[in-house]
Each structure stands twice: as C-alpha cells, then as structure tokens.
C-alpha cells in the first residue's frame, strides 16, 4: 500500500477521534489488569453507554501509563489536550468518573432506549454524581513521578490502542520507515544511529549504529534481523510493555534496521511467558501485512521484508544472543564462544543484527526527530533515555523512562516518592542477577553506563530494585545467586559448578556457620567464576555478591560467629 493510502487511514482515524469531546484511556496492561482493570474498563464502557451524552466520550483501551503500583490507571483526555490521571480506579470509582465526565445537559442528551440493564447503570450513575470520592483518585500532573520523566520510547505507550494499526498511524506511525525508504541510503541510516549515540538497551550498551554498520558491510545474499524479547531479568517488564502496548513501534524499528543492513527477513524472539506480547506482535505483523507495510513491496517501494515470531521456552540464558540464535534454529539454547559474532555469523550462519526491544523501539523517534535531537538528551557517553521497571520498597513503583544521567537520588526520592514507613533507602540494584547494588552513599551517581560500571554494577536491561534498611544484603545476594544456579545452562564448569559452590558458601555464612576465611574464599571464587565463565550469565553471576561484599561487607562479617 502506498504512503498516501496510509496517510488517508491516519487522517480518517484522527478525524474519528476528534469527534469526541473526551477520551477516557484505561490501562489494560498486565499490572493494571491484575489490579482489576478488566472490571474497570467494562464499567467505563457500560457507564458511557448508559450516560445521557455518552456518545461524546470514547473509552479506549491502552497500555501502561507507568504508575503500576496505583493501578488500575485511567486518564481523561480533553479535546484541548489537557489530561487528568486517576489512580486505583475500581468499578465504583469508574462510575463516579464517568458520571462526572459526561455532560448531564438534557439538551445534548442522545435519544435512546435503554435496556433494563443499562437503566440500572444509569440509576447508579445518578447516585455516583453526588459522591465525593473522585478527588482522592486524582494524580497531580505536577507529581515528580510525571514531570521528571522524559518519554521517547514510551511516548505513545499508554495512548495508542495496541490492537489498532489505525491508531498507530494516527500517532505518526510508519512515517520514520517511509522516510528512510524514500529519503535515506542504508549508510545514512547507520550514520544517523551512530550520531544519535544510541547504545544497546539489552544490557551491554554496544553502539547500535556500529553494530548495524558491521552487518551492512558484510557480503551475503541473506541477512537477518532479530528482536530480542526474551527479557529474563526477574521483575523487569520494560520490553514486555513495549511489545504489548505499542507493537508496531518495535516492528517499525526492526524494519528500519533491516533496510539499513540489507536484510529481508527477521524474527521476534519472545518468551513463552509473554502470551499477550506474542499475540500483539503477531497481530501487528498481520495488520502490517494486510496494509502492505510488510511483504514484497514495503510502502510501495522495492524494499521487501517479512517478519515472524519465535517463542522461547523461558530460559534466562536464551536472551544471550548466541543461545537465542541456537534456540531459533531449533537447537538446545546454549551459548557458544564468540567470535564469530552474530554480525558476521549469526542465524543459520548469516550476518545478523540482534537488538533489544527497547533499542528498536527508540529508532523511529530518532529517525523522525533527528540524531541531534536524541543526542542532546543524556550524558556525553550515554545518550537518550532509559526505561526502568522500578520495583522494591518504594511508594511509587512502575515503569519509568528517564534521561540518562539522572541521579539515583532523583529516581528514589522524587520519582519513587521515597521508601514508605520508617525504613530508609539503603541501596538500589540495577541489572538484576547480572548487576550490582549501589549503596545510598552513592546516590548522587548519575545513571549512565560508565558510572554504574565503575560502581561494580551495570545498566542492565532496566530492572531497578530499591532496597530499604530492613533487607539483609547477604540474603539479597543469595536470592540472585539462586536464580543463576537455576538458570545456568550447564555448558561451562565455572558457572555450572561455581555458582552452586558460591551458594553453598552463602548458605553457610547466612546460617551462621561461616568461618573467618570464608569471605575471602567467597570473593576469590566469585572472581574465578567471573573471569573464566563462557558467557555473560556466568561472567556476571557473581556481581550481586561482589558488590554487596564491597559495600556491605560488615553485614557478612556480622554473620560470622567469631566476629559477632
């Protein structure tokens, strides 16, 4: 389908949306759903239907709005663009919200015959008009939780209906793809990525433009693009959210990469525990195919591209790129030695770009707004924004997107609203089982790749766990070591046996059987596993232990009987 036709669809959808005075967005992402958003959205829909002027209001299902700890979240958007957020919206609150959002002006009322059920709903709305509890649910737009965030990846997440290509188009979707196909050479696209300073969001932070250039320069009849949607870090859900809540954004980023490197086929590798993400990505692929966005002649150009979904069986190690490739190939998901890197020999031995979901999701905005625009966000070496799944002992938890270089302090005290109760902020863990903790004494550290690494942690893929003073750090470290013991693929001995021995030592210390020399032994073993393991899982598995040993050694020492 040509660009013009897509523009027409977009305009038609924009016109349709602007008919409504107000649009009520209700988050149906996993966190809100589990807090009861299913009932909320049903009540919103019924109430709007039963309301006298309901046809001036549209109820829209959207993705994550960020403040997951206060779900179900609802946003009312005025025609003027003004927005109000409501938190903890249960059915009762939803009725009051509709009752107070619609106009009760009889002159505007629609002529309709209400079914008996809707008459009951109407009656309830009448009562709800007089209630006064809605105020409590309003979230101030001046909350630092909102003002401190900078949304690039999540800009449309929580606004677009993830199941409607029209809505994505109405939000400027596929404009970036069209731009690269018609105005830019593959080399220019790679350069644009280089200039933007975008680095891989899967954890290691490798410059994306550089990676694309490697693959672009390879001579090969077949090349592939792979979206890494394995997201194994426990508690992290950035990638899931983007795939579920704006699947076309990821697809568009992937297609831009494909054009840039000369690939005509690609795969989404998504873990089986993400059935909604799998459905939505598949839905997006189908819709894109129907509209000529995928297939032989993409947007009427001579570029052809197809994408498929491959489902991972939920092993953490399958997020590692070589294991992921084996898994797509139908082999046992174990890593192999690199080189060769996937950029020279990847899927079925062909040059392959593998990037994280968030990396791809950053691409359309960079193309549309320009590399310079993107590069002005962030720090000198870490550009742009990073999405974090903020979790742990904090008042506000959820999904946040912040500019690189923001301090931990701002995240914890401003966005997170501090640790609740009497406890105090003690440390933050980034990078999950591969990362480390940053103690509160370092909370002025800017969150960027280099600073975190200096502190013995990593940026990671976006897990950010806040630990308060009630948590024992050795036990915290053991939690992650348990995870690594379970998730080690078993191919190499330092990780297969070493992690088990680290855990044995931790058990011994935590259970009060430790001996004074055990701490040095633990540290030496961690260093051995780190320096001799085959892949990133083993190499980084000791990080939580090493970093807690570094900053909280006294907690370990206190557990050793002779020192106590």
């Amino acid at each position: 389908m040509s660009r013009e036709k897509l523009d027409q669809i977009a305009e038609k959808e924009q016109a349709r949306q602007s008919q409504f005075d107000k649009r009520i967005h209700c988050c149906i992402s996993t966190a809100c759903l589990s807090a009861g958003a299913g009932h909320t959205i049903q009540t919103l829909r019924d109430s709007v239907e039963a309301a006298p002027t309901g046809d001036e209001v549209e109820v829209v299902q959207t993705g994550c709005m960020g403040l997951c700890s206060r779900g179900p979240l609802v946003r009312v958007q005025e025609k003027s663009g003004e927005e109000v957020y409501y938190a903890d919206v249960d059915s009762e609150c939803a009725e009051e919200l509709v009752a107070k959002t619609v106009s009760w002006d009889q002159a505007q009322a629609k002529q309709q015959k209400l079914s008996s059920e809707l008459q009951t709903v109407r009656a309830r709305l009448e009562t709800a008009r007089r209630k006064r509890s809605l105020k409590k649910h309003i979230l101030s737009p001046d909350m630092p939780f909102f003002t401190k965030q900078v949304k690039v990846v999540l800009r449309d997440v929580g606004y677009v209906d993830p199941e409607k290509l029209e809505d994505y188009l109405a939000h400027g979707g596929y404009e970036a793809l069209h731009k690269v196909l018609t105005e830019m050479s593959p080399e220019q696209v790679c350069d644009e990525m280089l200039n933007s300073g975008l680095r891989g969001r899967g954890g290691a932070g490798f410059p994306t433009g550089l990676k694309w250039n490697f693959v672009r320069r390879e001579q090969s009849d077949v090349k592939y693009v792979v979206v890494n949607g394995d997201e194994g870090d426990p508690g992290a859900y950035m990638d899931r959210t983007v795939m579920e809540d704006n699947p076309h954004q990821v697809l568009e980023g992937m297609m831009i990469a494909a054009y840039a490197v000369g690939a005509n086929h690609g795969y989404f590798y998504i873990r089986a525990e993400y059935p909604i993400a799998i459905d939505r990505i598949r839905g997006a692929i189908r819709a894109a195919r129907r509209h000529g966005i995928l297939g032989k002649s993409v947007l009427g150009t001579d570029f052809s591209y197809n994408a498929d979904v491959r489902i991972g069986a939920g092993a953490f190690v399958c997020g590692e790129e070589t294991a992921l490739i084996h898994s797509i190939e139908g082999k046992r998901g174990v890593p192999r030695m690199r080189p060769p890197y996937p950029s020279t020999s990847g899927l079925w031995g062909k040059p392959t770009v593998i990037n994280n979901v968030e990396t791809f999701a950053s691409v359309p905005a960079i193309i549309k707004e320009g590399a310079d625009w993107y590069a002005q966000i962030g720090t000198e070496k870490s550009k742009g924004t990073k999405v974090f799944a903020l979790a742990g002992q904090l008042t506000n938890t959820g999904l946040i997107e912040v500019p690189m270089g923001i301090t931990l302090k701002e995240i914890v005290y401003e966005i997170g609203g501090d640790v609740p109760g009497d406890a105090e902020f003690k440390a933050a863990q980034t990078g999950g089982p591969s990362g480390g903790c940053i103690p509160n004494t370092h909370m002025d550290t800017p969150v960027d790749y280099e600073s975190l690494q200096e502190l013995g942690s990593i940026m990671g893929s976006g897990g950010l766990v806040i630990i308060d003073s009630t948590t024992s750090m050795p036990e915290f470290a053991r939690f992650f070591m348990d995870f690594c013991v379970d998730e080690s693929c078993g191919k190499c001995v330092p990780c297969r046996v070493g992690t088990v021995q680290i855990r044995t030592l931790l058990d011994k210390i935590i259970e009060g059987r430790g001996e004074p020399e055990d701490l040095d032994k633990l540290e030496a073993l961690c260093q051995l596993v780190r320096s001799t393991s085959l892949c990133g899982l083993g190499q980084s598995a000791p990080n939580p232990v090493l970093s807690t040993l570094r900053f909280f050694r006294h907690e370990y020492e206190a557990l050793i009987p002779t020192n106590a």
């Binding site: 174990v334 030695m337 078993g490 190499c492 992690t499 044995t504 073993l525 320096s531």
Partner: protein, 378 residues
C-alpha cells in the same frame, strides 16, 4: 602458512588453525578436556586458557584462530592459578576414588589434578548426578564421573551421525541422556563405542575391562581389524594374553581415532575354541582322496546345519596346497561337465577391494561366468 610464537617456539601452521591445535601438534601441552581434534569446538571446560601478547585477559586457545605474528604464552602464574581454580571446581563434582577406579592411569582429569597438585577440592564436595546405567552389554554410563565435556555428544552427532545422546536438563542438573532417558537399546545408538573412546573420565567404560586391570597393567598391540575391507587400525589392550578391550589407536590411516561396533566389541572370536586356524576337508572327501583310513558317511543332517564345536568329527585338517588343489580340480570338473554358468561366486566384505577385484576377474576370465555377487548386497 601462518607463523606464530608459542612459548618462544616459532611455529608454522595452516590458516584457520586454532592455537590449541597448533600447540599440541608441536609438542606443547595445554590442558584441555572438552577439545578433541576431530570434533567441533565447545569451549566448555575453560582449561585451555593462554596469554596473548597485547590482550589483557587470558583467552581460550581452542577458540582462538592463529594469526600471523601472534605471541602466545601457555604457562604463567596467572594461568596456573586460573586452571587450578577451574580444576578445583571440576573435582568438587567428581568422586575422588581414583584408588579403585578402572580409569586410573588413563583419566585426563586425574592427570591434570596430579599436574596441578590438587589432592582434594577446597570446596564442599557435591556430586551432581549419581545415575548409574548399565543397560547394554558393551559399555556402562556412570554419571558421577561425568564432567560434561560433551565429547560423547559431539562424536555421536558429528562423526557417527547418529545423535543418540545429548545434554538433558540444565545447570548443575545437566546430564547426558538418550531421548527421555530411555534405555540405550531403545535409542538410535549403534553401539559403536566411539563415545566411550573419547570420554576423558570413567563416565563411559567398556564393560569388558571392569576390574580386569588398569592402564599400567595392560599390554598394547597394534593390529588391523579383520572384519572388513576398510582396514581400520585397531589397538588391543591385553593382559596375560587375553584381550581386555579394543580401541582405535591415535591416528589410524583409514579410521582416524574411530571404530565401528564390530571391531571394537567383536573380538571374542580371537580366543574362541571354535575358531578355524587351517583349511579342513570333509571326512568322506578326505577318505576318497586317500587322506584318511576310515570310510565315512555323510549323515542325514548336513554338517552345515549342525552347530558343533567338535568340527573334527566331520572334518579333517589339511594343508593349504591340498585344499587349493582340491578346490581347483573340482571347479575344473564342474565347469567341464556342467558349463561355467553352473558355478557362482559370492565375494565377501571382509576382503579388501583388491581381493574382491581379483575374485570377480577370476570368475569371469578363469571360470568364464558372470555369476558373481557380494555379501554386502544381501
């Protein structure tokens, strides 16, 4: 050719050679457990670390392609420390009962533990799998000795082409298994025993050698397998003149380091009382030829149908000349009386190509018939 230096020795190797192979081929030993020259690279044992000039971190030599001018160190304090650490982990998950182990003396893990002075593990000994599987008459699988080097999996897949076994489960629970861990006989295994041969430990052992002597008790005799025309080299390990087990030697011209099930396990005929050691003529024929005194009648049942160890009841040993003379005269008589097409020849796969060629030539040119076939077609 590529020139590099390993431990100050200048070495030339073909392009695409890995540094471990380059070193081993030139008499420089780097410890390794998962590498095998005929198999793909795994990189799982982490022992073959070396130092490369210009790189901060030690690198695995099995995964490092030799490059022009490379300078490699295979021994240093740092490397010893790392290898020792890795070996310490290996032996923490391995019974250290070498005093009673049949593999003692030929176990690579034992060799390295000795080399690096590891008497015991400094960790909590924890054996990951105690599975013991003796489900076939040829080899047994004792998982507590398995170090998961994966050589067996790779040889079965890459050389034998059978892929009867693979890794199952993951992490510390990983073990080598047939599909669904069913008995070996129900898998696609052809019992070639190549997995047993490449196993560096006592995890895979020929049943025939259990408690029958350890490496230093055994004599070795290099021979050629008699089963077929390929002519694989074979090495018999013997004790007191009895075969204890057979394996491929290090570099057989025809077979490399591999054998098939017949050569490896089918050697009991060598000392069988049933074994024929010279030509024999049936008693009635021998009598007719004047070789025996007593007359003899062919019994109702053909002697070929009787499985009787006492062949001498039916046959008389003769020398080769007599036997060949008899065969050639009978062939001539039959050709003359019934024509050459009344004779057929059946060649054997146990003969070499050259033997088989001569045989068909003999049938066509000397006897004069095209009635010739080969047992491999049956």
């Amino acid at each position: 050719m590529i020139t590099l230096s390993i431990d100050t020795k200048t070495i030339q190797v073909a392009p695409d050679t890995n540094v471990l192979k380059a070193a081993l081929d030139n008499g420089i030993h780097i410890p390794h457990l998962c590498y095998h020259p005929d198999l793909s690279i795994s990189g799982g044992c982490r022992l073959c670390l070396v130092e490369v000039e210009g790189q901060d971190q030690p690198v695995l030599s099995c995964g490092l392609t030799a490059a022009e001018g490379m300078v490699i160190q295979t021994q240093s304090e740092q490397l010893t420390e790392l290898r020792r650490g890795v070996l310490d982990l290996f032996i923490s998950d391995h019974p250290l009962d070498c005093v009673v182990c049949d593999k003692a003396g030929s176990c690579t893990l034992q060799e390295y533990a000795y080399e690096y002075g590891l008497k015991e593990t400094s960790y909590e000994p924890t054996v990951s799998s105690a599975l013991f599987q003796d489900d076939n008459p040829f080899f047994l699988r004792d998982h507590q000795y398995c170090i998961l080097c994966g050589r067996c999996v790779r040889v079965c897949d890459e050389i034998v082409g059978v892929h009867a076994i693979d890794f199952a489960n993951r992490g510390f629970e990983t073990n080598i298994a047939t599909p669904y861990d069913g008995p070996m006989i129900d898998s696609t295994c052809v019992f070639c025993g190549n997995c047993v041969q490449v196993c560096p430990t006592a995890a895979l052992m020929p049943v025939s050698r259990l408690q029958r002597g350890r490496e230093w008790d055994l004599d070795r005799t290099l021979s050629v397998c008699g089963y077929c025309g390929v002519g694989c080299q074979i090495e018999y390990a013997t004790k007191d003149n009895a075969i204890i087990y057979a394996q491929a030697p290090e570099h057989g011209a025809a077979n490399g380091t591999f054998l098939c099930t017949k050569g490896r396990y089918g050697w009991d005929f060598a000392t069988s009382p049933e074994r024929l050691k010279q030509p024999m003529l049936r008693r009635d024929v021998a009598h007719k030829l004047g070789l025996t005194e007593e007359p003899w009648e062919l019994p109702e049942t053909s002697p070929l149908d009787i499985r009787n160890p006492n062949v001498e009841q039916y046959f008389v040993p003769v020398d080769w000349d007599t036997a060949l003379e008899f065969v050639s005269s009978r062939l001539s008589e039959i050709t003359e009386s019934h024509g050459p097409d009344s004779i057929m020849g059946l060649a054997s796969a146990r003969c070499t190509n050259e033997d088989n060629y001569l045989f068909q030539k003999f049938m066509r040119a000397v006897i004069g018939t095209n009635n010739i076939d080969h047992c491999a077609r049956l």
